[in-house]
Symmetry: C3
Subunit: 322 residues, 3 copies
């Protein structure tokens, strides 16, 4: 249900150090460094959903209109739940377009933390097995979430109605943004349908950015989507103010390669090379960041022309500082 | 019309410091560092053109011949003009195959410079709106060159017969090679037809290379082109001498990913890794450079097999030093 | 026939310093640094082969079975031979799945070495010309192995029954893994059929890894193969023990882009960024390495979903240290 165990409804406080853990949770909320490693719990379920990639029925840039029947499909997605999957919840930082409702929950941690991801398969649509496979973190084979005959345990092919807890560690090489996704026997259908999400892992003492944007590129029923939406007006509107440090967490899932571009801005690779466009393929992910200094309404998009035309484009709105 | 305002025909000398500016212009010509930041003007128009991607009608490597009717098409491209678009011109460094006639003008500047790109839409072929959107440089939203209903100004959708001046700054993160292209309502047709070019920005005090080669990868009417040409004998022949510092400026436009390879040579990434092949997708661009020490006739090409077979290959001729 | 001239059957000892050269050869075998540069000879031939990409006739992950007639095809590949092509041989380090029988011989050298690759065209299947073009190393145009009318010499289009010796140097920028492949008139058919291999070049005094795995991604008759095999149970099973330093040498050939992923592990780019997935396109190649600390059976695969489904996946088995 939640990432930092002691925050939000249904919280589970692991033991005696309530005050310290509350402080750590508060630190996450206010963006200051967490003082010590924690075990973070999240409850997640695979659930049926009816998803409309183009809820306003319009491609504003091309002046096209869509019949909702052509943009809405039943599917199965990951959802965050309260403890023991009592009820679905959404985190404050997932309420905006940044994390959206399509991607699975944004699971946040810090290097040194342990993660316990409690998964339940509530797929009543396809009644198929599912799993969770996590990139970027450390785990034993039993928590790999893969279907592999003779080798995979229960966590690789969780049957409908069943549960499994994945045990992960955010190690020294885990800082960054990482995808997670179904890797069970149903993997191909699941990923095509949207069963993926992201792990966002900060350094042990890293100051979180003021704004964190998740851009998940994926094809969906012929549309090219960002966080499950297509076309300006449907894709996330990311917002920041001049002076804030903004962070873009970019990932791709599926079959295609993309190039991430933001208008009016540049960033530098770790070796110092300036960029404003970067390519990535399926399951690749990266994080870029800058101190915002360019007010206005900007576009961000995949620069593959056919992908942009099929919806992989959105707006970024930067307000002047008050 | 021109990049460095005080050089060439139709020059516009901004103010009293003629001698200093002339010295700076001379510095650019002879390759020594420019002493101080400048405001550089260029006049560019979108004009109809009839383009033949295979002017010698041959694919020499496969022994194939083409009917010119199958390789020649009307299109719209960017052209450099003299001041106030009086007449089209070409720069000396665009006369060779390096920049070609297909791509828009190679616009050169240095970090710290301001750019004023005066654009006129002379598209009498499609009579469509057009614009210029620049990567790598700093600008306000009004100079973004995008079509975005409710947000974009006149510069995002310049109607036939109209003009717009884009105001750009080469900032500290602007050094390198960057694409520019149409981002108006006509964007998809325009880019498929060849409405793109490159900004080449040197460091403030950087010594320009002895040879600068622009390699623009793009599909065009089923051919895979470099600077608008397909097949050895049509694509640019780049030339250098042993001892010279050569620079390859590589970019891609359109829908496809490519891998740039040069025979007989290697270069290093900024982190020191040796390469002789590098991938890039639409709107990605990079610059690699080396001191030439390998005389002979070499191939350069995209290493995607079907792209090489469809024309994305040329020759690089290195003479021994005299 | 062989990489290090004085080892193996049919060895050719270049000159008087037999003891020193034998010591260098032994050094390669036992993984300690070679003391001095050597001239390394290899005899290679293009030969017909009948290849089955799915020898166990199964896709275990999807529970599918294949008729061998649908997975077996005649083709032409590179094979290592004894001196003067007397008979085919395989190196110890090629006997396992790591190098496979499909790819050409793994040619190993160190920075500073010279290579003499003696090639013979024994293609009695297509009776087509062939060649060898090497990435990453230094050579003169006569050893480029390219077909280019008016420019290429005999080495660019070696006719059936003929031979050619390519003269290469592993220079300071040659450390790493590099593809080689046919670049003659037959190039497209040859690469589609499997005429490619790898050069593995270590630093002058670099300690070789305990385990070296070659992962060559390529499409083949509709399958997506690793070292010429498709689906778990057919693709190479790589093996290591906890405490060993393992090295993954990854390359791609053909038309497609891939993303290399290993489960349960992460590595860092030279600039320090952690990764567990990296994209590459045709003729790109890279080497990643880590000290093994994660026992178990893991998957490695291309993360393009349709490629994984078409066979581009295998297992990596890590034993606990005894």
């Amino acid at each position: 249900m939640h990432t930092v165990s002691p925050s939000g409804r249904g919280r589970w406080i692991p033991a005696p150090r309530v005050a310290a853990v509350m402080a750590a949770a508060l630190a996450v909320v206010i963006g200051t460094p967490a003082a010590r490693a924690a075990t973070r719990h999240a409850w997640v379920a695979a659930v049926p959903a009816t998803w409309n990639a183009v809820p306003n029925a319009r491609d504003a840039l091309h002046g096209a209109r869509f019949d909702p029947a052509a943009t809405t499909f039943p599917t199965v997605v990951y959802r965050r739940y309260t403890r023991n999957w009592k009820q679905p919840v959404r985190r404050a930082y997932e309420a905006g377009a940044a994390a959206g409702r399509f991607n699975g929950p944004l699971i946040r941690a810090r290097v040194g933390d342990k993660l316990r991801i409690h998964f339940k398969n509530l797929d009543t649509l396809r009644e198929a097995p599912h799993s969770m496979h996590f990139h970027g973190v450390e785990y034993e084979p039993s928590s790999d979430g893969i279907y592999l005959p003779l080798h995979s345990g229960k966590g690789g092919n969780v049957k409908p109605g069943q549960t499994f807890t994945y045990k992960l560690t955010a190690g020294p090489g885990s800082a960054g943004i990482w995808p997670y996704h179904d890797h069970s026997q149903s993997m191909e259908d699941s990923i095509a349908g949207g069963m993926y999400g992201a792990l966002s892992i900060a350094g042990r003492d890293e100051q979180r950015a003021d704004r964190e944007f998740l851009v998940a590129f994926a094809g969906w029923h012929g549309f090219q989507t960002i966080d499950g939406r297509a076309f300006v007006g449907n894709t996330p509107v990311f917002r920041a103010k001049v002076g804030e440090r903004v962070q873009w967490d970019v990932m791709a899932m599926g079959d295609e390669f993309h190039t991430f571009h933001v208008h009016g801005h540049r960033w530098r690779t770790p070796d110092g090379t300036p960029e404003d466009t970067r390519g990535l393929g399926p399951a690749e992910s990266f994080r870029v960041s800058w101190k915002e200094d360019a007010p206005g309404t900007w576009l961000y998009h995949c620069h593959v022309e056919t992908h942009m035309a099929a919806g992989m484009i959105g707006t970024y709105q930067v307000a002047t500082a008050r």
